[in-house]
């Protein structure tokens, strides 16, 4: 009797999650998969086959775009880690109480406005008649206006800025759990700053680093607004391709195939990343 009751409770608690997964994730994907394997042969005529996937591999343009997107996302992830780690270390280890909360909040505040507004903020700063260009002219460093927008560096800036929080939060959590006495002990045992960082801090923070990297990488790869708005004419991004297949070309079949390829290939990259860093997903997410 009791076991029946607890079983019922278990399923009741599970049902929101199952509903969420089924209706919002699995069902749409099944539908999208069927769209992606129907090839268009004429007006309102479709055949089943993997032709749409073949298009991706046969047209260098598409896999080049994917490679570029992946490469830029990895670079953005790395940069975010490089900038985010010192910030997280400072917040977790060198501050206490109120300062800590304040600093943490300051990382959070930019996320109170929408991504679109933040991106427009960057456009106001970086455009030819924008704040940075005008300031440089004002202090006499340059003679004419400079265009900072519409290149890869602008995209990178936007991506790092957008995803900084998602790196800092898991890092702060893992670094917080590192006992200060361990660091003191290693100084006692003759370690210096560099060896302590390499032998003590980074191994301990590894799960945080990996989970932060996964989130930032996925966010960058799936970002649409930032690359399109800041990248201008050179903004070739895989999600942009998917959007244009769906909306401007009415080619849902190819768009769905691209969607699945993005899902598969990005999962593969994350898998390889986990293997290389010798972390397992359960360990990373379990902490």
């Amino acid at each position: 009797m009791t076991s029946d009751k607890s079983k019922l409770g278990f399923f009741l608690l599970l049902s929101p999650l199952l509903l969420w997964l089924m209706t919002l994730i699995i069902l749409p994907h099944v539908g999208m998969f069927f769209v992606s394997i129907s090839e268009k042969v004429g007006v309102r005529q479709y055949e089943t086959g993997f032709g749409n996937y073949a298009v991706f591999f046969n047209e260098p343009l598409y896999w080049n775009t994917f490679a570029r997107t992946a490469y830029m996302s990895i670079a953005a992830t790395f940069l975010t880690l490089m900038i985010g780690f010192p910030i997280a270390y400072y917040i977790a280890k060198l501050t206490k109480g109120r300062t800590k909360t304040t600093l943490f909040l300051m990382c959070l505040i930019p996320f109170w406005v929408s991504e679109l507004v933040r991106t427009f903020g960057w456009m106001i700063l970086l455009r030819e008649t924008g704040v940075v260009s005008n300031f440089l002219q004002y202090i006499g460093l340059v003679d004419g206006p400079i265009e900072f927008l519409y290149n890869d560096a602008a995209i990178m800036t936007g991506l790092v800025y957008t995803s900084m929080l998602f790196m800092v939060v898991p890092l702060v959590t893992t670094l917080d759990s590192l006992d200060d006495s361990l660091i003191e002990a290693s100084y006692d045992l003759g370690g210096n700053g560099y060896t302590i960082l390499r032998e003590i801090i980074i191994p301990h923070a590894m799960p945080g680093i990996v989970s932060g990297c996964i989130v930032v990488f996925m966010l960058s790869l799936g970002n649409y607004l930032t690359p399109i708005l800041l990248g201008g004419k050179d903004s070739l991004w895989f999600t942009g391709l998917i959007y244009s297949q769906f909306i401007t070309r009415f080619n849902w079949e190819l768009g769905s195939a691209f969607g699945f390829l993005l899902l598969g290939l990005s999962s593969l990259i994350v898998f390889v990343g986990l293997k290389l860093s010798r972390q397992s997903l359960t360990e990373t997410m379990g902490r």
Partner: protein, 353 residues
């Protein structure tokens, strides 16, 4: 107690009765085509409610395709997006012309749109707003730009913008001496034209500052002087002209590209009566004039240009002397499948370094 119940029951009955007559019109249209003042007047006069969603051609078709023609009661795609989309996705339903007051329309435009959107003897759209795309140029700084291909001139390098969409392909093809509309029916010939345009656009890419997406974006770029020559809509040019006399819309030497935005019914629209009422309402000359002053473009309403303010008329006449009007290239209906060819070209131009 009993009295109270009777009252509320009566109230509910009354509400449902009025709901049967007054429908909610879900209108999918362009920015400026349904000004607040017009909606208020319409609601007061007919009792119908209007909900407006703003969009563009591609999104309109994509949205209706996603719902098999549901979710909206009246939509306003350009006339070239009717027949092809109908053949492919079946998202429209034929119009009942007896419910539309055709006397309100300029005859030539009505006939042209009817012809363009006819399938199996049924008419799918009537015209509403028309306009052109051509060049919006800062005439002081980029006086040399007279045609689409002049955007690739060295003297405007780095200060040019256009959209990476089909009008650009068509405009460049005309400026390069070809006639893409004549090749619409022949995929091979059309591909030949596209190949030449692709080469030109890739060569021209270094000249481009950025490809613009929305009307506000290009207006911003032109206003700030970051862009001095662009391919854009006539209204954008006229609006900028009001602020800065140097900037104006220029009809290109090879002809401006003319579009007509229409009224069409989605196949699963629910408020047809309200939709017909809206069409007949906004085509009245005085309402049409209100829409023209809001959207900046003229309508297919007979006498609708009479109430438009003189400044806009003057700008129109500067940009369009009679021979430029005669030279407008009106978009014919896009055959199904053509977008795939164009899409591949646009992708390659976007990817070119």
């Amino acid at each position: 107690m009993n009295f109270k119940y009777t009252c509320s029951a009566l109230a509910i009955l009354a509400m449902s009765a009025s709901a049967a007559n007054a429908e909610t019109l879900r209108l999918l249209t362009w920015g400026g085509y349904a000004p607040e003042a017009v909606i208020e007047k319409f609601e007061a006069e007919t009792g119908h409610k209007v909900e407006v969603t703003k969009s563009n051609n591609e999104e309109m078709v994509a949205k209706l395709r996603a719902t098999n023609g549901g979710g909206f009661d009246l939509i306003q795609p350009s006339q070239d997006r009717i027949a092809g989309a109908q053949e492919e996705f079946g998202i429209y339903k034929p119009l009942d012309l007896s419910k539309i007051d055709t006397n309100l329309f300029i005859d030539s435009m009505l006939e042209a749109t009817k012809g363009n959107t006819m399938m199996d003897g049924k008419v799918f759209a009537v015209p509403h707003v028309w306009g052109t795309s051509g060049l919006v140029v800062n005439t002081k700084m980029a006086g040399s730009v007279k045609d689409y291909t002049d955007l690739c001139n060295a003297d405007v390098a780095g200060k040019v913008s256009y959209r990476l969409k089909r009008p650009t392909l068509i405009g460049f093809a005309f400026a390069m001496g070809m006639d893409p509309f004549a090749a619409y029916g022949d995929a091979d010939a059309y591909q030949g034209i596209l190949d030449k345009v692709e080469a030109k656009l890739i060569e021209c890419k270094a000249n481009v500052k950025t490809y613009w997406d929305g009307g506000d974006e290009i207006k911003n770029l032109l206003r700030s002087g970051e862009v001095i020559a662009s391919m854009a809509w006539d209204t954008g040019g006229w609006q900028l002209n009001a602020d800065n006399a140097d900037i104006n819309f220029v009809a290109p030497a090879s002809g401006a590209l003319g579009w007509i935005d229409t009224f069409a019914l989605p196949s699963r629209g629910r408020a047809d009566e309200a939709a017909y009422a809206w069409i007949n309402f906004v085509m009245q000359p005085e309402i049409a004039a209100m829409i023209t002053s809001e959207a900046g473009n003229f309508t297919a309403s007979k006498g609708g240009d009479a109430g438009v303010d003189d400044a806009l008329k003057a700008r129109y006449q500067t940009s369009f002397p009679q021979e430029a009007v005669d030279n407008i290239k009106w978009y014919p209906a896009v055959p199904a499948g053509l977008e795939a060819l164009e899409g591949a070209v646009l992708d390659r131009v976007n990817a070119a370094q």
